[in-house]
C-alpha cells in the first residue's frame, strides 16, 4: 500500500482477502474539505445507472438535466469489481486511512456495506448529502450500535450548527424519522436497480444492510433513545451540574456577537 498521508485528500484503501487467498482492492480518494470523490474510477457508465431506471419516487433530480443517478454512477465501478461476490463469503477485511488501519474478520457483504456507504454518502445525491459529515469520522466495519450513536451524534451537531447560524434546531429530533424514511425509500429503490446486476448478491445485500441500519435507528427513536441515554449518566443526576447556568449569569447562545441572553434572577 502506498503512503496515504496527504493534507489535501482523504484516502480510503480497502483490501479484502478471501478464504482461498485471492485479494480484491479498492481505493477511494476524497477532497478533504468538500468530501467529494476526487475522481471516479474510470469505467463505462452502465445502463442501469441511468436516472430513469428504477428512479427513486422522491428523487428531486430531473432526468432531463441528470442523465445518471449520482449514487449509481458513483457505484458503477464498485459493482463492476465486486458484483460477482456472494454475500456470505468470508474475508479478512482491511481498511487503511491516512490515520490508521482497521481490520476485521467478516463477510464480504459487511465489508462492502462499509465501502458502498462511503460512496453513497459522497456521491452528490441530494438525499444522502446529509450523511456526508459522517465520512470525516468514518468507522469501517462498525457495529450497528456504533452506527446509530455516530449518526445521532452527527445529527445533533448539525442542529447546533444550524442554530448557531440562526436557523431552527431540531433538538427534539422530530425531523429525523422522515429523513430516515427518505433513506429507506432510496435504498429500496436502489436494491431494485441492482437486483439484476452482477452474478452475486453481496452488493445488494450490502445496501440491504444499510437499510437495516436506518431501521435500527428508527427503532432506537421509537424507544426514546433509552439505551443511548444510559451512556450519558455522567451528565445526569447531579453529574454535570456545573453546566447549569446560575441566576444572573450571562449565557451566550451560539456566537457571542449574535445572541446574548440574561437569565432571570
Amino acid at each position: 500500500m502506498e503512503n496515504l498521508a496527504s493534507p489535501k485528500t482523504l484516502v480510503f484503501e480497502y483490501l479484502f482477502v478471501f478464504a482461498d487467498g485471492t485479494e480484491r482492492r479498492w481505493r477511494a480518494e476524497l477532497d478533504a474539505q468538500t468530501l467529494d470523490l476526487v475522481e471516479l474510477p474510470a469505467a463505462e457508465v452502465p445502463a442501469w445507472a441511468r436516472l430513469s431506471f428504477h428512479r427513486c419516487p422522491h428523487c428531486p433530480l430531473a432526468p432531463e438535466t441528470h442523465t445518471y443517478c449520482p449514487v449509481a454512477r458513483s457505484l458503477a465501478a464498485v459493482i463492476d469489481r465486486f458484483g460477482d461476490c456472494e454475500a456470505h463469503e468470508k474475508v479478512n477485511a482491511i481498511n487503511r486511512t491516512h490515520e490508521r488501519d482497521y481490520r476485521k474478520q467478516t463477510t464480504i457483504q459487511e465489508g462492502l456495506r462499509s465501502l458502498i456507504g462511503l460512496h453513497m454518502s459522497t456521491s452528490g445525491c441530494p438525499i444522502l448529502n446529509r450523511f456526508r459529515p459522517l465520512i470525516r469520522n468514518y468507522l469501517p466495519f462498525e457495529a450497528p450500535e456504533e452506527t446509530v450513536l455516530r449518526f445521532l451524534s452527527m445529527y445533533s451537531l448539525a442542529q447546533f450548527f444550524r442554530h448557531r447560524r440562526g436557523s431552527w434546531g431540531d433538538w427534539e429530533m422530530a425531523r429525523l424519522e422522515p429523513l430516515l424514511e427518505d433513506v429507506r425509500i432510496l435504498e429500496r429503490s436502489f436494491c431494485q436497480r441492482l437486483a439484476g446486476v452482477g452474478q452475486g448478491d453481496a452488493c445488494v445485500n450490502a445496501v440491504v444492510g444499510l437499510y437495516a441500519l436506518a431501521d435500527l435507528t428508527s427503532l432506537a427513536l421509537e424507544e426514546g433513545l433509552d439505551q443511548v441515554d444510559q451512556l450519558f449518566d455522567a451528565y445526569h443526576d447531579g453529574g454535570g451540574s456545573e453546566l447549569e447556568p446560575q441566576a444572573g449569569e450571562y449565557l451566550e447562545l451560539g456566537r457571542g456577537d449574535v445572541v446574548v441572553e440574561q437569565l432571570e434572577a
Binding site: E86, A87, H88, R184, C191, A195, D201
Partner: protein, 109 residues
Amino acid sequence: MDAVQAVLMARKCQPDLILLDLGLPGGDGFLVLGRLATLLRTEAPVIVLSGRDPAENEARALSAGASVYLQKPADSDLLLATAQRLLAAPWEARGAEIEAYGSVAASWS
C-alpha cells in the same frame, strides 16, 4: 447457518413459518426448498426474502415450494402482515392463500 444446517434445523424445530434467503453457503435457498418438500414434507409456509432479481427467481421459488417471494429490503409492515396471514390461514386453505400472496409479491417486485 448454511443450507444443510437450515434443513436440519427445520427438521429438529418443526417451525410454524420459515423465512429463507436464497444466497446461502453450502448450497442455496433452492436446495433448502427442495429438501423441505421432498425430505421433510413440511407444511410450514416459506417466505423467500432475497435481494436477487425476482424476474429470474420468483417463479422458480414458488414452484419449488415457497409460499411468497419478497424482494429485499422488504417493508417490515408487509413482511409482518404476510407472516400473520400465512400463519392464520387454515391448512386446507393455504394453497389458495399462497396463490393470492403470489400476486402481492409480484406487485412488490
